[in-house]
């Protein structure tokens, strides 16, 4: 998994490339915790696979930003990844956008 973060319109965008699984989830969590941000978008366009530990990590990230009075949006996930959010009803919890720009606009 490759991780990158940058600022876009006052929002911290985390770009994830690869799989968010039991082995890589702790890496994403650490990367996020090193850069505390109130307004966050996680760009999932390049995420090819996610398991329940990956979903749990995103839930933890959401809880953290909300507890700080901020917000977290998810962007550009594949149909397959999106279906897991729908099955688990996490699509009710997260703001899910088609693309990064839309997600940034919603969060900022």
């Amino acid at each position: 998994m490759d991780l990158k973060s940058f600022q876009q319109d006052g929002v911290t965008v985390f770009q994830v490339d690869g799989e968010i699984n039991i082995s890589t989830s702790p890496e994403l969590k650490k990367f996020f915790e090193k850069q505390p941000a109130k307004k966050v978008v996680v760009d999932l366009e390049r995420v090819t696979y996610i398991d329940s530990s990956g979903l749990a990590t995103l839930v933890e990230m959401l809880k953290k930003t909300k507890s700080q009075g901020g917000g977290l949006g998810l962007a550009a996930m594949s149909e397959k990844v999106k279906s897991l959010f729908e099955i688990t009803k996490l699509d009710k919890l997260f703001s899910i956008s088609q693309n990064k720009q839309e997600a940034v606009s919603k969060v900022k």
Partner: protein, 138 residues
């Protein structure tokens, strides 16, 4: 297990770093079926969730315990059995992860996903062996 045309058994050490390795071997074993990416995604996810639960919660990450994995297929289905050496658990005790009050919880989605993505998923009465089936052509 079904009387599959093709079967393979694996003995998996209780080490989470083994999950991806075994899963890759299983997907390679299923290659002759020429399955769709979506089918393989579901099988991989359910297999890995079952292995993680068996290693982490069943065998409590004890290196001296193993997880027995059997994979088989015929021209109608793929069947996967995962058995740990733990005392077992009652799947009914799991919280319903999709109810509103549990959405923020970080555990319990693995078993739920298995039940949603496979066509059949059943634990034995002790709760240490899970047999999952996914029908081909779905």
């Amino acid at each position: 297990m079904i009387e599959s045309v093709t079967k393979k058994k694996f003995l998996v050490p209780s080490d989470l770093s083994e999950v991806q390795k075994v899963s890759a071997k299983v997907l390679a074993f299923l290659k002759p079926l020429d399955l769709s990416q979506a089918f393989l995604f579901d099988v991989r996810l359910c297999l890995e969730e079952a292995l993680i639960n068996a290693i982490k919660y069943g065998n409590s990450l004890r290196k001296d315990l193993k997880v027995a994995l059997e994979v088989g297929y015929d021209d109608t289905q793929v069947q996967i059995a995962v058995e740990d050496q733990g005392k077992g658990f009652d799947p009914k005790e799991l919280k319903i992860c999709t109810s509103e009050e549990n959405l923020l919880r970080t555990r319990g989605r693995g078993v739920y996903l298995i039940h949603q993505l496979m066509d059949r998923a059943k634990y034995n009465s002790r709760g240490n062996r899970l047999v999952m089936v996914k029908f081909l052509g779905k």
